[in-house]
């Protein structure tokens, strides 16, 4: 019986980067339904987050393609299989049930019941970069935040925002109306954020509504998790800025995260797998793409695609052990054409 918030599926794929997306295709050809969970708010993984505009030259048959284009093409390719995406979520738990199936839990409280779990999590989960300021942990979630969930929590505060990208600029514009004071701190007087946001910020600075400081935060003042000021290393020397809320926006970094707690054997933050099935030390849990390791492993997208194909052949035997599997080519198989929605 299913509980509330519980979803039944054949396969849960953790990670919606290029390799996780292509796994949907290979599993789909075998009629396996997939749910994908990703900590980012969209598909593409590193291709979307780290280098959407950068050209990739080693995707077979694509002399040059950007990370964003590759993601878009993969999304088109897997559309016939109707994968379901669950974005902005972290998988927090993975447990095996008595019947051999897995319960996958997310930090949003959802539960997925699946016979196969595929970890395609790349370098791990993207998490905000924490500035290396002594004692910053003590202020996190009380005065220091890496995202804005509720604007009201910032009303009437002396807010300091650090960074020069879109997050820093967007929140400067959005929080200025509710702040007691707002200071934007950046290492240089140039911003890589959208020009329109930069212009709006400059107008607020000119009107005396936002203070702009060029420098870097080097220390925090306060007690008991309550921030009172931040120390700033600026061009004219050191300064103390009143601050009761600090929002550092230095982008994201990858951390292995909860994968380490699932009872799977790990080698230096990578998951060892066999090269016939790409299965982990736990039967039914597979690992493909940058997160796995085996003799001769190369962290290439194309290697992840190959791993996805072989993994799918092993996964079908776990989901439908009774089924006779006939290997088919997409060029000639009428039944595969039907699944792909193309005329034979």
């Amino acid at each position: 019986m299913l509980m509330k918030n519980e979803t039944l599926t054949d396969v849960v794929i953790i990670g919606a980067g290029p390799v996780g997306l292509f796994a949907v295709f290979e599993l789909g050809l075998l009629d396996l339904r997939c749910h994908l969970i990703d900590i980012l708010d969209r598909a593409g993984g590193q291709c979307a987050e780290l280098y959407p505009e950068k050209p990739i030259y080693d995707i077979p048959a694509c002399p040059v393609i950007t990370g964003a284009e590759l993601t878009e093409k993969l999304m088109g390719q897997i559309k016939p299989f109707e994968p379901e995406f669950h974005f902005s979520r972290m998988v927090t738990g993975l447990e095996r049930q008595a019947d051999g199936a897995f319960l996958v839990r997310t930090d949003e409280g959802e539960i997925f019941r699946a016979k196969v779990v595929v970890i395609a999590a790349g370098g791990g989960s993207f998490q905000p970069k924490r500035p290396p300021i002594a004692g910053i942990e003590a202020y996190e979630d009380s005065s220091v935040f890496y995202a804005v969930r509720r604007i009201e929590e910032f009303r009437g505060h002396n807010i300091v925002i650090v960074g020069g990208g879109d997050s820093a600029l967007d929140w400067t514009l959005n929080l200025e109306p509710v702040a007691k004071s707002l200071t934007l701190v950046h290492r240089r007087d140039q911003f890589r954020a959208a020009p329109d946001s930069v212009n709006k910020m400059r107008a607020l600075v000119a009107a005396g509504k936002v203070r702009l400081e060029i420098g870097q935060i080097t220390g925090l003042e306060g007690a008991g998790g309550d921030l009172s000021a931040v120390r700033l290393n600026a061009e004219g020397g050191e300064k103390l800025l009143p601050a009761t809320r600090l929002l550092p926006f230095f982008g994201l970094t990858m951390k292995l995260g909860p994968v380490a707690d699932w009872g799977i054997n790990l080698t230096e933050d990578l998951i060892p797998v066999d090269t016939a099935r790409f299965e982990t030390s736990e039967p039914g849990i597979f690992a493909i793409g940058d997160i796995n390791t085996y003799p001769g492993k190369l962290k290439l997208i194309l290697c992840g695609f190959h791993e996805a194909a072989l993994m799918a052949q092993a996964a079908i035997r776990i989901v439908h052990p009774e089924q006779k599997i006939v290997f088919q080519y997409t060029t000639s198989s009428t039944s595969l054409h039907k699944k792909l929605g193309v005329a034979s």
Binding site: Y51, P131, P132, G165, R187, R192, Q216, E235, F250
Partner: protein
């Protein structure tokens, strides 16, 4: 030609080759630099502080490098990405310092 790298209070003298990136020299000598993206100017984990004396002699940082440096929380006015500095005769004796944030986890701990 020589490259000097300050790391955990120690100064290391490294033999460098013309045309190599400073990051590549550091990595080739097995110093624990992260350099996650391998020199594509896409990660900023090869961030170094360039000695004041040498700063004026380096080619100016590209807009792409400046944008990547924006994602480093402990920059100073001496900050550069070591994958974007090419060793040349003019830089023989260059001195840089590796911040903790550019070291692989085990070395930084």
């Amino acid at each position: 030609m020589k490259l000097y790298v300050e790391l955990g209070g120690e100064l290391r003298e490294l033999e460098a080759l013309e045309g190599w990136r400073v990051m590549e020299v550091i990595r080739d000598w097995d110093l624990p630099i992260k350099a996650e993206c391998g020199g594509a100017c896409a990660c900023a984990t090869c961030h170094v502080y360039v000695d004041e004396e040498w700063q004026g002699r380096l080619a100016k940082a590209s807009p792409e490098e400046e944008d990547m440096l924006d994602t480093v929380p402990d920059t100073t006015i001496h900050s550069r990405l070591s994958c974007q500095i090419l060793m040349s005769e003019a830089l023989d004796g260059l001195r840089v310092k590796l911040p903790a944030s550019s070291l692989v986890k085990e070395a930084a701990a």
